[in-house]
Symmetry: C2
Subunit: 425 residues, 2 copies
């Protein structure tokens, strides 16, 4: 079976409406990419049988591997099973292995399947049941026309485990039995930059890829910076041949992006900062005002961050800045809470009180209210103190709504710390 | 022109890979819904001209309004203009009004268009240029077959302003000139619950919608709770007729969900808690351990939250709990940092030090490390103190990875505060 191109179909009216982060796509693109399968299309449809059928008809014309997520639960709006049966002309029947797996899973939680849950054991005839080692809904896979349809629950943890334990081995086995050579994994290099506008990143990378080279350059701007990707296109032999070229281009990109480049691949700013702190045996405390706790939250997303993060003081009120950090009330009155000197005093205050190596601070105006002509919404000061008596600060002027300004401020603060750590070498 | 069904096409290889929150879909579904236009399909394609063309061919067969976002920038990977021209058989040409708008916009920032940016003024022949009041890339719209294609930048702020100022008036005008009656807006009620499993919400709502009623019930579980939606289906006359019925069902749903229901529509937990605090004239301070600042971050996402949020202490280390909150080191040694008594002491400590009405605390084990047999990963204690000498606490046992446990803990803490506020009435 040809397995070159994939399409994902996410099912759920709520997904159509959006507003949530879609971690399933990231995982599926990564895992399929390792097998050399490229996700070229992603579709989202509501919980409507006829729309799921339409999406399947579209997908089968343009993809060899179709991964459907969602719509396998016990509730009234879960109709993926019916839609697949209808589209492919199979009948639904209760399958023993599906029922047993589900019953065993529910028994672990001290439950027995109710009528609604029994629907979850209905599987299209001819399909292979995929075990769910984490939740109650089994999945299934089914060959149809020239494609393989894989149907998995939409819950990320369940979907991920089933991909790892059931689907990927199955895709590998199908490929081996087809006698085709395994294609090279899709090679993709991702660079994360902060501090440059998208147009400036584009200008820096101008002419990076020689004309006619089978490598795609992608840029994506967000409040967290500009993401740059290099993806090797073409068939397997081209990929093999161009692997060395991609490495050369990646090195060129690294030197062009220089210290605006803060991370590669799935690495994050908070992981980079954490590693640099650990490497130097330094500890950190943070004093936040306009970011409201976001920097602390991000730093502690990293497992093991308790080794270097001692505390964060979110001093939203001026009184809190004085009481928690010892910033003189008189200084706040004179300079304003959003000022260079208060940022410096906050960084010193938190470092001394926490007795850590480095104090990092942020004070600014996130808006929409609170701005003035001289101190507009988006004005942000970052401070850093290492106890040498010379705290450093930087002024930023950000644009965007409250959330964007908080996000950018947290990124700017962590980037300021990263640059300081690298300078210390 | 019939404007019943819409499809959105988001363009960008990085979007295909996912991992980010998609706020554009939420906005588009809302705004189009107000005009009675339902988004039935959502497609995502990479920055590949042939794939964008394929997506357009698919969309035109099933939707009357096609909103494309992204791929209009100046960089090499932006090829939406070329793809639309190619799919619809129009030629691209530089348009005066597009160039003038862009030049005026760049002049405001003290720039002149460079060669790359000049590409942004290339518009398919026959298309209407849509002005961009926020950024440099103009959009355009074009009738093709029985559909209206609208092409907008992917940057949320630019897309939103262009929808409001250019696209929605245009859709209204097209409808009026067609002589059709304006369809009723799509009516959708959304309920947010916390504290019940999806299956339990489903059971509570069993039989809510009488058989044959043109109302869809949707459920979506996430670490933040279970979202319930009631959407009125059917044509315009059915929608008008059933409006009263939807209200009746919504009221029934409210009473069935009782106090697990914390918000409706686009309201969030932090907004609800903020309003309840303001209404009662109460101020708040938070002591966080395993959530690392997430509760403070969420509370301060609400504009005006400085009126009731005084501070948050993120005391990640045990020493920080003692120094910032006065939790006796001896109590931590005896009970463990993750315990009922420490949660209570943290809530009292932050309330006293901040001199506010209510102190809220969280201590727990977010994992992946740090769990023991008696205190496993996911064990979380919430504490609340109002200065009456009787702090209240609650124990939770959450499942999931580090991020899920942090998210659920923050939601549980805010929900605990919400319930306490409502009891106080």
């Amino acid at each position: 079976m040809n397995q070159r191109d994939a399409e994902t179909i996410a099912i759920g009216t709520e997904l159509l409406i959006g507003g949530r982060s879609d971690s399933n796509s990231l995982f599926l693109a990564d895992e399929l990419g390792k097998l050399g399968i490229a996700v070229r299309f992603k579709s989202v449809v509501g919980d409507k049988r006829v729309d799921i059928v339409t999406a399947l008809h579209t997908a089968v014309r343009r993809a060899h591997v179709i991964v459907m997520t969602g719509g396998l639960g016990p509730t009234v709006d879960d109709c993926t099973r019916e839609a697949v049966a209808c589209a492919t002309g199979h009948r639904l029947g209760r399958r023993k292995e599906a029922l047993e797996g589900m019953t065993a899973r529910l028994a672990q939680w001290g439950r027995t399947p109710n009528t609604a849950q029994l629907r979850q054991a209905m599987i299209p005839s001819g399909a292979t049941v995929l075990k769910n080692p984490v939740g109650s809904a089994p999945g299934f896979c089914l060959s149809w026309k020239k494609a393989l349809i894989i149907s998995l629950p939409g819950v990320p943890r369940e979907m991920e485990e089933m991909m790892r334990q059931e689907v990927l081995p199955l895709l590998c086995a199908a490929r081996e039995s087809s006698g085709r050579l395994p294609p090279a994994p899709i090679v993709r290099q991702v660079f994360h930059t902060f501090g440059l506008a998208e147009a400036d990143v584009d200008a820096k990378l101008h002419g990076l890829i020689p004309k006619g080279m089978p490598i795609d350059l992608g840029l994506l701007a967000s409040p967290m910076g500009v993401l740059v990707s290099l993806t090797m296109k073409g068939n397997q032999s081209a990929r093999e041949k161009n692997r060395a070229l991609l490495q050369k281009l990646a090195n060129d990109a690294r030197s062009r992006l220089s210290d605006w480049l803060f991370a590669e691949g799935r690495d994050t700013m908070e992981e980079v900062v954490g590693r640099e702190l650990v490497q130097r045996g330094l500890t950190l405390a943070v004093a936040e005002s306009c970011t409201g706790g976001l920097i602390g939250h991000r730093l502690t997303q990293v497992a093991g961050s308790s080794a270097y993060v001692d505390r964060a003081a979110v001093c939203y009120s001026n009184r809190a800045k004085t009481e928690m950090l010892g910033v003189p009330a008189e200084l706040i009155a004179r300079e304003g809470a959003v000022s260079k000197k208060v940022a410096a005093a906050m960084a010193c205050g938190i470092r001394e009180r926490a007795n850590v190596s480095v104090g990092l601070s942020v004070t600014g105006i996130a808006g929409p209210d609170g701005g003035t002509e001289t101190k507009p919404v988006g004005l942000v000061y970052i401070g850093l103190d290492d106890g040498t008596g010379r705290p450093v600060t930087q002024e930023f002027r950000f644009h965007g709504d409250r959330n964007v300004i908080k996000q950018r401020s947290s990124q700017a603060a962590l980037d300021f710390l990263r640059r300081w750590l690298l300078d210390k070498a």
